[in-house]
Symmetry: C2
């Protein structure tokens, strides 16, 4: 009957040697790092159409003439294409700028590192806060979008959207707590499967368009807006902002440069170009097809699913493959945040800006706390937003564009420093070697253009989506940065308190009074008494007498079974445990204020988490109540109770017998 839930779910501990990673090739690097960026094509087009549909008058559709003066030949929906092209131009600019970062930071050039290197601590913390927020949103958005694909194909599951999304998060959390062996090959399958099926779908779609056999989708229930908004610049910019989520994830390669084969920077840079080219192609093609099929922005069915149905036919096998591929890449994208969030949190924690626990590498070589925090926050977002991508989008992308801006601004500053070097001169920066480069001004301009563009987009995003949720991120990031600096201040202050300033410490002996806490007299008690006796100091045992009858029994048992030392009964008429112990210890301490009081308590150690949970009470409570007392030290003496299967196959609990002298 023994079942160890933790071990079953989380698996055996990993050997430390497994941590060493292998260098990966460009195609595998593309698969590993591109899922986040490529997966955004699954929702970017749809989110543009949803915003445009706000301008459609009631009773009309995106694809018919309406009061806004746009006719049948040029309905509102077709605006999606120029918007997608504008976003692609932005993406190209950012890609060119990030290529420079990758070449400059062969050891990894995430926004946090570039900012810390060039713009100082405060900006680095802002970049970090933006990125951490963003990773949480990556999980929430990608999983919501993945579940949206599933419920598009299986509409009966629609009412269980939130439940499915949370179940996926729980599953992904367990997998990541087990530790994902970063096998590039396994990561490649979903990415290339998605690319393959999407490419085939789009090619068939374009052929059917050219041959005039591509149908439109008319049977989807459109999203209903309560108000019609004027089709002006503001609405177009809002649609543009929504589409800019297509850029999320393109920074992933800059974080993962060290994973590539040598020459790392060059290989990573080439992979980045590949990735962006594929992203632009997919995004524009999907948008083009969506317009041709007159895709309907809908809560019920995603645009990808509508496209699949129009091209392949409802219920056909290629349709289901397209849905499966899209869902898989979205889940992969969420999974990359499971690697990035704990890694960045550990970087912050190592610099003293987040709790140190986040630097701790768990038994299976992962930053366990980071994973759990990410999972809880992403689940909350999904529950609050009802797993709706459209509801989450206004929170997303501000963080990404803020980190883009900071990273590229850092590169502008760096180029300036390089510009001051003499020909051939080299200077060791915080992170990398800076080398004279005659083209520094050109590089600086490229970075500056990138920084300015992403900054403008960030502002557009924050303004046009402010009321829908962007305000939350605008408020959250400064709060996070403030919290980071409070934590940093605390660690610095504690270090100052503990420091001796180089002086010698005062090492000397003090008196020790040892007290054993006794609940009952049994084998565990003998273990504690033996330890106290082995220390060779004076000791006595105390029992908190919650009931006088039990206290009398314990006293008798002590005489019969221990037969030495003193057992004192402390009455506790109000059935309290911690308070009388604390008072007693305080009294002892007053008698010898210069000495130590040494409290010994027992602890039962069980095989499984659940059994252990049934025995955690007293130790925890006592430790807590004694913690505030100076020079009162607490020793926990464990007593092991384990499962053992006897000859007949029955499972029993068995304890240590060595403290037990059998009756003569």
């Amino acid at each position: 009957m023994a079942f160890d839930v933790r071990r079953a779910l989380l698996g055996q501990r990993l050997q430390t040697k497994d941590l060493a990673h292998q260098a990966i090739s460009k195609p595998i690097g593309l698969a590993v790092f591109a899922s986040d960026a490529l997966s955004s094509t699954a929702y970017a087009t749809q989110e543009i159409l949803i915003i445009l549909s706000y301008a459609v008058t009631a009773g009309a559709a995106l694809w018919t003439a309406n009061a806004n003066g746009i006719g049948v030949d040029n309905p509102i929906g077709t605006l999606a294409l120029p918007i997608a092209i504008a976003i692609s131009v932005l993406l190209t600019i950012v890609t060119i700028s990030y290529r420079q970062t990758i070449l400059a930071y062969p050891n990894g050039g995430g926004a946090y590192i570039v900012a810390r290197d060039n713009l100082g601590e405060i900006v680095a913390q802002i970049a970090g806060a933006a990125l951490l927020t963003d990773y949480i949103l990556t999980v929430a958005v990608s999983i919501s979008a993945g579940v949206a694909q599933i419920v598009s194909a299986f509409p009966d599951l629609f009412p269980f959207k939130v439940e499915i999304a949370v179940a996926v998060i729980i599953f992904m959390t367990i997998v990541n707590l087990r530790g994902v062996k970063e096998s590039g090959l396994i990561f490649s399958i979903p990415t290339y499967f998605f690319l393959g099926i999407t490419a085939i779908t789009l090619i068939v779609g374009i052929i059917r368009y050219l041959s005039g056999t591509l149908p439109t989708v008319a049977d989807v229930e459109a999203l209903h807006h309560n108000v019609v908004e004027p089709l002006g610049l503001f609405l177009v910019l809002r649609a543009f902002s929504s589409g800019c989520t297509a850029l999320t994830g393109i920074e992933a390669i800059s974080n993962g440069i060290t994973a590539f084969k040598e020459p790392r920077s060059k290989n990573a840079a080439i992979t980045l170009i590949w990735m962006s080219s594929i992203l632009v192609t997919l995004f524009i093609s999907i948008t083009f097809i969506a317009i041709q099929i007159q895709a309907v922005p809908s809560e019920i069915e995603t645009v990808i699913s509508q496209m699949g149905r129009a091209i392949w036919g409802t219920g056909s096998i290629p349709y289901f493959l397209l849905i499966a591929g899209t869902t898989l890449i979205l889940l992969m994208a969420a999974n990359t945040a499971y690697a990035d969030f704990p890694r960045l949190a550990a970087l912050h924690a190592g610099d003293g800006f987040l709790p140190r626990q986040l630097t701790y590498r768990g038994g299976r070589l992962v930053f366990s706390w980071g994973i759990v925090v990410l999972a809880v926050l992403a689940s909350l977002l999904i529950i609050i937003s009802n797993a709706s991508v459209s509801a989450l989008i206004p929170l997303y992308a501000i963080g990404v564009f803020l980190s883009f801006t900071i990273s590229q601004s850092g590169m502008v500053v760096r180029a300036q420093k390089i510009g001051k070097l003499k020909p051939g001169e080299k200077v060791q920066g915080l992170e990398t070697m800076m080398e004279y480069d005659p083209n520094w001004r050109f590089h600086q301009i490229v970075s500056a253009v990138g920084a300015i563009c992403t900054f403008i987009v960030m502002c557009i995003f924050a303004i046009t989506k402010f009321r829908e949720g962007a305000w939350f991120v605008v408020v959250l990031i400064p709060i996070l940065v403030f919290a980071f600096f409070r934590i940093h201040h605390h660690y610095k202050e504690v270090a100052k308190v503990l420091s001796t300033g180089g002086s010698r410490l005062n090492i000397r002996e003090r008196s020790v009074q040892t007290v054993i806490l006794v609940d009952d007299v049994h084998k565990e008690t003998a273990r504690m008494v033996n330890f106290a006796k082995s220390l060779g100091h004076r000791w006595k045992a105390i029992h908190i007498g919650v009931s006088p009858e039990k206290a009398e029994k314990v006293k008798q048992k002590w005489q019969q079974r221990i037969g030495e030392g003193e057992l004192e009964i402390i009455p506790s008429p109000y059935r309290l445990l911690a308070e009388p112990i604390r008072e007693y210890i305080e009294d002892l301490h007053e008698k010898e204020p210069d000495g130590f009081v040494h409290v010994i308590m027992g602890q039962l150690v069980m095989d499984t988490f659940w059994e252990q949970a049934l025995h955690q009470n007293s130790g925890f409570i006592f430790n807590l109540s004694l913690l505030g007392l100076d020079r009162v030290v607490v020793t926990n003496v464990p007593y092991q109770i384990h499962h053992q299967v006897d000859e007949e196959g029955h499972d029993h609990l068995v304890g240590q017998e060595d403290e037990f002298a059998p009756k003569k």
Copy 2:
């Protein structure tokens, strides 16, 4: 800048003497124990109407003629009155039967105690499982119903129903963790306020009805059902079951007998009769008025709110007072579960059927764990049900009626035992004295009638509501009972393992090897070294060398600042902490397998929860990794760091200076 969130929220610890309660009078007893029962009138009528509305054909209303052959003079909705009367008859039967229980168990006669006393452990555990489930539902239903009143008066808040309900639970949890001083007077205000305003409303309502000026409400958006169900016995029984939620809470007085003034049983019994009479009057009057105003079952506005608007006019002051009173009594009802759930869980835990932690009385005299568990589960129910009373009702009341049935069956068995006594004979039962009573057969018949009636209603409820959610409770209760017995089995087995069977234990000295874990050399280190030195045993210090540079520095500091003893560096190239320590300790233990290994580690103690949380890492991890090793004992040496305000009003952290010899 010091802020102690925990203390601010939970308040200062209470003195143990505050626990002693004062005896209360009947009117105050009514206020304290009746809120749960009386508050159910806020939703019982409405839930009957909602079920009846399933028989209304599309386009029609509850109050017009329709295809079911019920005409304008006798529409479907009027069926609510005979149903309410039937429920009131049932309530009267249960009241008479419970009066006997109260008289027989002056020390408290909850279903768990009566079952344990008369029907054995298994039945008692079933009663307990039913009641615990029910308390959780009381919180979820009462708060959802309370929030429904609020959003009826302020429809703008409708979209935030769930958020408001969860906020109320959080607030109530904090209040209860602080410990509610059971001041009867403060409890009386909401109860009597509710009774007053409701009585006035109903009287004015009846006067307006008699004078023909009571309007109907026609402007409420009715609940929309997708299917029409035939108006047959099944639907009527379903409506009856929904209305039976009016009976929830009438058992409260039987749990609280000890709170009353002497003669306790008699006073409690009289209070029970008062309570039931008021409940019946309110329930029938509300149902009658609801029919006269042709109340509409609606998701948007409660029947109480519709009644208030019809009688007092929309937006009038008495209307808002009625809503306030109803909301208050519903919140009070939820609050009683906050007292009952932890108390019953502690009773189970004391008998070894739930984790022992639940018996622990927290610093403010409350069963803290029980409160937190209740709050989390009730919040989950509210989130899943979307704070809808109608969605929660099918889960509710099965537990109540199961416990009613068990309690009264126990009384039948008890009467049988009394019937076997000789005139004048007295027998001490487990809980109470049993005394000869010539009327035992009469009492037995009363209890049997009650038990049979509540059993039948429970079956009706389970069958008619099975698909809507009752199945969940039908499945849950056996699972809970199974879990209770597994826990009980575990505790019994551990007790057996630890028991010496009365024999003498083997008390003897063993060798002790002491090891100090050193992260850095500072004041905290001196504290640990001093303790080790004071014990007078051989000791050495170890440092896990995550980075060789830091290890070298620590070694130098050790020489300069401690200057005695040995510091061993254990290299850890993979930056792990726990694993190398564990291996080192295991090696030590192998050298002297019969002795103790004594590990000393430091712990920083901070003023506030948040600061402490920043320093919990290593101790926790090391303790965990060493826990499984036999005869390895771990001592935590605390070092206190506290806030201190200096003369200039600045807040600083300050540590102990006594281990620090200032430079000469």
